[in-house]
Homo-oligomer: 354 residues x 2
Amino acid sequence: MMRPVPVILCGGSGTRLWPVSTPARPKQFAALVSDVAMLTATAARVADQKHFAQPIVVAGTDHGEQAAMLTRAAGAAPAPMLLEPAGRNTAPAVVAAALEAQARDADAVIVVLPADHLIGDVEAFHRVLARAVAAARAGRIVTLGIRPDRPETGYGYILAGGPEPGIDGVCKLVRFVEKPDEARAASYLADGRYFWNAGIFVAEAATVVAEAERLAPAVVAACRRALAGAERRADDVLVLNADSLAASPAVSFDVAVMEGTDRGAVVPADIGWSDVGSWQAVYEARRTSGDAAGNVAPPEALLIDSRNCLVAGGTGQVALIGVENLAVIRSEDGLLICDLDRSQDVKAVSAALE
Amino acid sequence: MMRPVPVILCGGSGTRLWPVSTPARPKQFAALVSDVAMLTATAARVADQKHFAQPIVVAGTDHGEQAAMLTRAAGAAPAPMLLEPAGRNTAPAVVAAALEAQARDADAVIVVLPADHLIGDVEAFHRVLARAVAAARAGRIVTLGIRPDRPETGYGYILAGGPEPGIDGVCKLVRFVEKPDEARAASYLADGRYFWNAGIFVAEAATVVAEAERLAPAVVAACRRALAGAERRADDVLVLNADSLAASPAVSFDVAVMEGTDRGAVVPADIGWSDVGSWQAVYEARRTSGDAAGNVAPPEALLIDSRNCLVAGGTGQVALIGVENLAVIRSEDGLLICDLDRSQDVKAVSAALE
């Protein structure tokens, strides 16, 4: 049996993690929750060549070299690497990767992974992937469903149904649900059948292509042309044809395929997942490494009567006196001082600076 | 009548204004409350050569060039400049300057000015100085008494008595009072006869020397030897003899002379004075230039739902979200985030970094 092929999506530009994440240096290329870039951590989780094939990395043309370097830092060769002259959301990225994987191996199973998520429990992640791959071999397009632990309004949800017959740990996918309001999020949390949509998909490349042909033919046609007209660079790097790719609708894989397919399935996943989508999320992800007062900060920071603060980025001495619940974030692009409860408002800063 | 000679004291190293003020760059050399260094602003207040002679600038040897440059930036030539190889508090600095002024003009009146204070109402300051100079000509050593507007525990106080006969606007000096506790400070404020000691003195140089000879002869002897053995550099710069100066007690002019003299007098002064001794004081001094939400920040700062914050120093973009009453201070030496009410604790940072 062929090993599944990781497809690592490096698109997207985090606007809520300024000043570390900027259009020129999106968060997947930054070391937000550990000492390595998030892309490197993502690639490292699927770098064991006993269990995974070499990854297909999809990135913007401008970030190709950076993405290749950070993938190699995980001990994985990005092969091939698909570079998009302009981002068209996730549907073309997934479909192009599926077409490429299928061309190399008609039976390939792909594991689509956003490059900028945190997965705290890698062993559980691997167990979940094994179930998902089994379901993929049975013709399903599997999405990982993260069990919610709070009434989050920032994510889309998945309503899972009963168990898929004959595939252990896999549920039917009833439907995708838009980001809810607070009351609805609370009811989803209480219900128990709702999961967060992490954007992690597992399927045979052929299944993805076939369902995309049926549900989003314009995406598939554009991707075929973009691959056929791609410029081949050294080291297995393909620059997708810009004009062809631009003809694709800019649409997410969720909307283009998952919401319409009757081949969807869900694997409930308790894997310590976070999309690390805000400084609050970064703080939560790193909190266990904090001090007794709940501060997460570099060891040289001077913290006087300060509690529950996140100090990150930049270099040089930093001192906090008498403050709490703050994000204090430095980079060469600027300085952010933000009440952690207001982390979602950082996108207003990014917007103002554009 | 000779114009009075400003004596600008550039010693001292502010430890409560880190990271802008450091041992290598004390606050008098920083632009804390305006676009120019505090020394330049101090020199500019007494730079009008119709009313003042060229200043005598006393500084540490390490800071001689910086002090000269910043004095000249005010349009005043530091002539002469007295450089101390090591600081010995204010008594030797004032006495050495008095000896030098007396040597150049036996009738000289000196106006001793700390380089790192803010005086908001310069016209009132000049009116007060005119009264003080008149009292100095009558043999008094005059100290400016700042009328307190709050029960400050961080300053020494002066108890003023009745009017000096025949000198308008000048009071008898009853005694100096140590920094009080809160209850005592409140009683001083209510009393009306207590003033803050700003460390601004006006006297004939000969009077200063004579009273110092009587009350602190070791200081005068050391200063005479330090001047006699001084190394003369170009441009009227004297480096006091290190060994001779080291023989002087390290003592303040208040303690060495003012507390013992019977020639003291006080001029009550409402001149918008601040010693700018903390970030809270910097904020208060600059508050009128702030925005409607009470923020004092550079125009490019992004302030979202933030109130009563001071943003100063450094370069590059800065953004505040959902915070209040904070000092956010950047310099090449570091970053401070401090509750403004905790400004006094910044000295703990300086101490920790030493």
